[in-house]
């Protein structure tokens, strides 16, 4: 499986946030995206996932266009920095609601992933009452619990304590397989060095290998 970006550009408020980006992401490899704040890392993940419409270029999955909202073909899990889940739902209900859209995952699997990231599957508190670290863990669980073949992780270890960082890193290492593409953005050099096989640097919307 290959994701190919061909001359991808995106403007927001007349500013070029993605500037003529071309790259390929192959399965079996964990990619790291690094760059300073506002360089376009998160925007690139959003473009790959189809959350935003790109202005120019194309994004292909195994040679087929994948960035159109009406032609969705990707089996994808994503976590986005500072983006939570439904504030009034608890951990189980949040994941159950999301998986209910495709009816992919059983109750046992949802509970297994909640426990895997270090949360209590029986915790009935709503998401809004979670600490930052707990929120981060649940959003991470949300990205992986349906076993997607493409995983996009935006700052996955932000707000986590040492134990949480180790838990998330171990899970990411276990997720690496020849059938899966994983792309991680991080400010944490240790995360990038430990987890990733290839690193892209992004600066002012332009990509450098």
């Amino acid at each position: 499986m290959v994701i190919s970006l061909k001359n991808v550009s995106k403007n927001i408020k007349r500013k070029k946030v993605l500037d003529n980006i071309s790259a390929e992401f192959e399965s079996g490899i964990i990619y790291g995206l690094v760059g300073r704040n506002g360089s376009g890392k998160t925007m690139l993940l959003r473009a790959i996932s189809g959350l935003i419409q790109i202005d120019e270029g194309e994004i292909l999955l195994d040679g087929e266009t994948s960035n159109s909202r009406k032609n969705k073909t990707m089996d994808l899990g994503i976590m986005i920095e500072n983006m939570g889940l439904y504030p009034e739902l608890n951990a189980y209900d949040n994941l159950n609601y999301l998986t209910g859209l495709n009816k992919k995952v059983s109750k046992e699997t949802i509970n297994k992933y909640i426990e895997m990231v270090g949360l209590d599957s029986k915790d009935k508190r709503p998401f809004r009452k979670y600490s930052l670290g707990m929120k981060q863990r649940l959003v991470f669980a949300q990205a992986i619990f349906e076993n997607p073949s493409i995983i996009l992780l935006d700052e996955p270890t932000n707000s986590l304590d040492e134990n949480g960082v180790n838990t998330i890193r171990n899970i990411i290492m276990k997720l690496k397989s020849k059938d899966r593409i994983i792309i991680i953005t991080s400010h944490n050099k240790e995360d990038i060095n430990i987890l990733t096989d290839k690193i892209y640097t992004i600066s002012d919307g332009r990509l450098e290998k």
Binding site: I12, S39, K41, L51, I52, R69, M83, L98, Q142, E146
Partner: protein
């Protein structure tokens, strides 16, 4: 159900009971509903303060429900969207939840008020018309609040929640003021030929006592002179507006660039 969705309508009922019911010796459920639906005053100039107090029930509903879709859109929608291509489905699901919550809000408000009246011995008898008035009250107020809440949420998503509240509450206050200023017209024969003035003012569809009904058991309580608009007309008007706002909302949400400019962090 969130605690504030219960506490706020019950609190409003207690205030309303103390201000408008406590001094009455006896009241029927129908009279209670007529008072609750902007019926404690006639449409005379200078009654804006009283109208605003009664409008506050809707404002509270706006505060509770006016940003729920917006919050969910900014939070979990991205995770919803990567699992389905259909944002219209997301919008309709959220809208249905919102409508159910709003109906519950008015049920709690009304039944808390009826409970207070029963507890204080002010209600002595029930009639069939009471049920019909309850149904009309819940339906008209729920649809009006639902429409305005959807508008609030859509403006919040496209622009800003502060702007959304200013626009919606500002317009409603203008409509209310227009009803009060032109109130005297409605008591003359002018209304016979110009009932569209009434029908085009959304606030007027909430003021039950200035309607008429085709049912005699309801009509005997609707004594407003020269009223040309029936409760069923207001029901159909708000129902059509509800359908229109749902269709418009579906298309507007579907075109939205998810996590666009104002939510952009990097």
């Amino acid at each position: 159900m969130n605690k504030k969705n219960i506490i706020i309508p019950v609190s409003y009922s207690i205030f309303f009971f103390m201000i408008y019911i406590l001094t009455s010796k006896e009241i029927s459920v129908t009279e209670l509903i007529l008072r609750l639906s902007f019926g404690t005053f006639s449409n005379y100039k200078g009654r804006l303060g009283e109208a605003i107090f009664q409008y506050f029930l809707i404002v509270f509903a706006h505060i509770i429900f006016g940003s729920t879709l917006f919050k969910n859109f900014c939070n979990a929608t991205a995770y919803f969207y990567v699992r389905t291509v259909n944002l219209k489905r997301w919008f309709l699901g959220e809208a249905l939840t919102l409508l159910i919550d709003i109906i519950k809000f008015y049920f709690i408000n009304l039944f808390a008020l009826i409970g207070l009246c029963l507890f204080s011995g002010k209600i002595h008898k029930f009639e069939f018309s009471d049920i019909l008035f309850i149904l009309y009250f819940i339906a008209l107020y729920s649809m009006f609040t639902f429409i305005t809440c959807i508008i609030l949420n859509i403006i919040s998503i496209y622009a800003d929640s502060g702007i959304a509240f200013m626009v919606v509450e500002g317009l409603n206050t203008i409509f209310m003021g227009f009803y009060l200023i032109t109130g005297d017209i409605f008591t003359t024969e002018y209304l016979m030929d110009h009932s569209y003035i009434f029908k085009l003012n959304p606030i007027c569809h909430l003021i039950i006592h200035i309607h008429k009904s085709n049912l005699s058991i309801m009509n005997k309580y609707l004594t407003y002179p020269l009223s040309q608009t029936s409760l069923s007309t207001s029901f159909i008007f708000l129902l059509l507006c509800t359908i229109f706002i749902l269709i418009a909302g579906c298309f507007m949400i579907d075109k939205m660039d998810l996590i666009g400019d104002k939510m952009e962090g990097e």
